[in-house]
């Protein structure tokens, strides 16, 4: 790995969000491929996730790294779009995900981390925020032509909203149009199976693996 990419990786892991954009610009000036830069930052986020799971990192560190990633990504965005327009004519995202925390639930720390991880992995994420009514998930999914609807619930009193979401999709005859991905502390794979959700993610990195699976993408290669 070149010196500059090594530095970029370290900055993302250390969550130095103010310093990342300049280093990304320098990498571009050095003619390093955009994809390689993105991959470097994504791999760094993978390390951050592992540190979080090991209890070495906490919310503070995780958020700073996620913001560092975002700051770098912003710099790359025009380049990525340019490139995507040339190569595919449409956009190179792995898939579109409409994401929110269900109604009456305002927990969003975990949701935001999952969103960062999905963005880092190459998904296009539409964040609906917290306390999102079921209708709103579906409306937005229709509007942006989403592939996946992702719902987060942290309370036993709100977790059944994920079930209701699936019911509502059925009622509207839209169940087959979207994959439903759910997550949050009280949920489980078993619960997801019971309510007929397409996927459940234990944590942010699991969420990426599952979202890729839902899009028919195997680890490491696209379609």
């Amino acid at each position: 790995m070149s010196e500059i990419l090594k530095q970029l990786s370290e900055l993302v892991i250390a969550g130095k969000r103010a310093e990342v954009p300049d280093v990304v610009k320098k990498a571009l000036e050095d003619n390093i491929d955009v994809d390689v830069i993105v991959k470097t930052m994504s791999d760094a986020m993978q390390v951050v996730g592992e540190k979080f799971n090991k209890g070495e990192y906490f919310i503070t560190e995780m958020l700073l790294s996620a913001h560092a990633f975002k700051a770098g990504f912003e710099v790359l965005k025009p380049k990525l779009e340019e490139k995507a327009a040339k190569e595919f004519g449409k956009g190179e995202k792995l898939g579109r995900i409409v994401f929110g925390t269900v109604q009456n639930d305002i927990h969003d720390i975990g949701k935001n981390m999952v969103e960062s991880a999905l963005t880092a992995a190459g998904f296009e994420v539409y964040d609906l925020g917290i306390d999102v009514p079921l209708e709103k998930f579906i409306e937005e999914a229709e509007k942006v032509n989403a592939d996946i609807i992702a719902a987060c619930a942290l309370l036993t009193t709100t977790m059944d909203q994920t079930k209701n979401l699936i019911e509502l999709l059925k009622q509207k005859g839209l169940r087959d149009k979207y994959k439903v991905l759910i997550g949050g502390a009280p949920l489980s794979q078993e619960y997801a199976d019971r309510i007929g959700a397409d996927g459940y993610g234990e944590d942010a990195f699991d969420a990426v693996i599952v979202a890729k699976r839902l899009m028919g993408i195997e680890e490491g290669k696209k379609n």
């Binding site: 969550g15 209890g55 906490f58 919310i59 503070t60 560190e61 958020l63 700073l64 913001h67 109604q103 009456n104 639930d105 305002i106 720390i109 935001n112 917290i130 306390d131 309370l155 036993t156 009193t157 709100t158 009280p186």
Partner: protein, 363 residues
């Protein structure tokens, strides 16, 4: 010994006649839901709230009454925070948060506090007055408290939680200033009750969920949460109150539990994710422990037999020698069946101690 005496004896790490027990910490959501009330209407009058706390407790028979449970955000709203009601699935919260960005914003909060915003607020007044009434009517028999968040969690409500978390690293001075404010804010919320001696030999609850393991590091807990919690504990101790402290999650990694006695609180509520037996061995001689009956999988989703099993396990792990209160490990969901609550209470009240601290488990 009456309810209050058994709890206070356990808090002193002594051996009460029987095991102290409360089905919940809080119970606000359960009460509002089970009296077919709503969070919008519930604080209508202090009289109504006090009557409900007392009549529910006649039914439930908890050793502690938690006034103001589920209402920790009302004082924040009194300073201008936007209250968001969410039916009975959760207590009202502040959304969006205040988003304090600089010292000037903190000074504005001070200005509101000093202008008497809390005292003028109808709901804050109702909570305080309900607490007064409950203490007045049953405070010799039952331990009574008023609940509130701790300084770290209130700071999250004032700054936005993610901003608070990032500022721990990026702007620690500002965070300390906000924590100072939140500590003052807590004291102001309780001030009229303290001044009138209402909470003398009663309890103050400090619940600081945002300062829990998994959210912040041990070092950050030491720097940003513990000193301010301790400040509150010292303040209320000097006024003759006892302190119930709660933070969720597992305190075992990094031996973080060793910091809990440093707060000076009499009592710490052990979350179901934290091993009660370990807590008892490591810090049980320094701080009274309670919990850790699983409020979600057992109290809410289990049968009375499951509750009995879980309660007996907790008793085995922590009751010996006193210094233990049987309780749910965190605030209970509104849908917990009454039979499960009854089962827990029955087990607590029928578990007696011998003089040497041995537990007489009745079958």
């Amino acid at each position: 010994m009456n309810s209050k005496e058994v709890v206070l004896e356990a808090f002193k790490l002594g051996v009460p006649e029987r095991l102290p027990v409360t089905p919940w910490f809080g119970g606000g959501m359960w009460i509002v839901y089970n009296t077919n009330d709503s969070w919008e209407k519930w604080p209508e009058s202090a009289e109504k709230m006090a009557n409900t706390y007392i009549s529910i407790n006649e039914k439930v028979q908890s050793d502690i009454i938690f006034c103001g449970s589920g209402m920790n955000n009302f004082p924040v709203a009194a300073l201008g925070g936007n209250l968001k009601y969410m039916g009975v699935s959760a207590p009202p919260d502040i959304a969006p948060p205040f988003m304090v960005k600089n010292e000037e914003d903190i000074n504005q909060l001070y200005a509101k506090l000093e202008s008497g915003a809390l005292d003028e607020d109808r709901i804050v007044t109702a909570i305080r007055d309900a607490t007064r009434l409950v203490v007045d009517r049953v405070g010799d028999e039952v331990l009574v408290c008023m609940t509130a968040f701790g300084p770290f969690t209130y700071s999250g409500q004032f700054m936005g939680i993610e901003n608070l978390m990032m500022n721990l690293a990026e702007n620690p001075e500002l965070v300390h200033k906000l924590l100072e404010f939140s500590t003052k804010f807590h004291m102001e919320y309780y001030r009229p009750l303290i001044e009138d001696g209402v909470l003398k030999e009663q309890m103050v609850v400090i619940t600081d969920p945002m300062a829990a393991p998994g959210l912040i590091s041990k070092l950050n807990y030491q720097k940003f949460a513990l000193p301010y919690q301790k400040k509150l504990v010292d303040h209320y101790h000097s006024e003759g109150s006892v302190i119930w402290l709660h933070m969720c999650n597992n305190w075992e990694p990094d031996n973080r539990y060793e910091l809990l006695p440093e707060t000076g609180a009499e009592f710490f509520l052990v979350d179901p994710k934290f091993n009660l037996g370990l807590a008892k061995r490591e810090i049980g001689d320094k701080i009274c422990l309670g919990g850790n009956v699983d409020q979600i999988n057992v109290l809410n989703a289990g049968t009375p037999e499951d509750v009995a099993k879980n309660a007996r396990k907790c008793i085995e792990q922590a009751a010996k020698g006193g210094g233990y209160v049987l309780s749910a490990g965190c605030d209970v969901p509104p849908t917990v069946p009454f039979e499960n609550i009854q089962t827990l209470i029955k087990i607590g009240k029928s578990t007696k101690y011998k003089d040497d601290g041995e537990v007489i488990l009745n079958e």
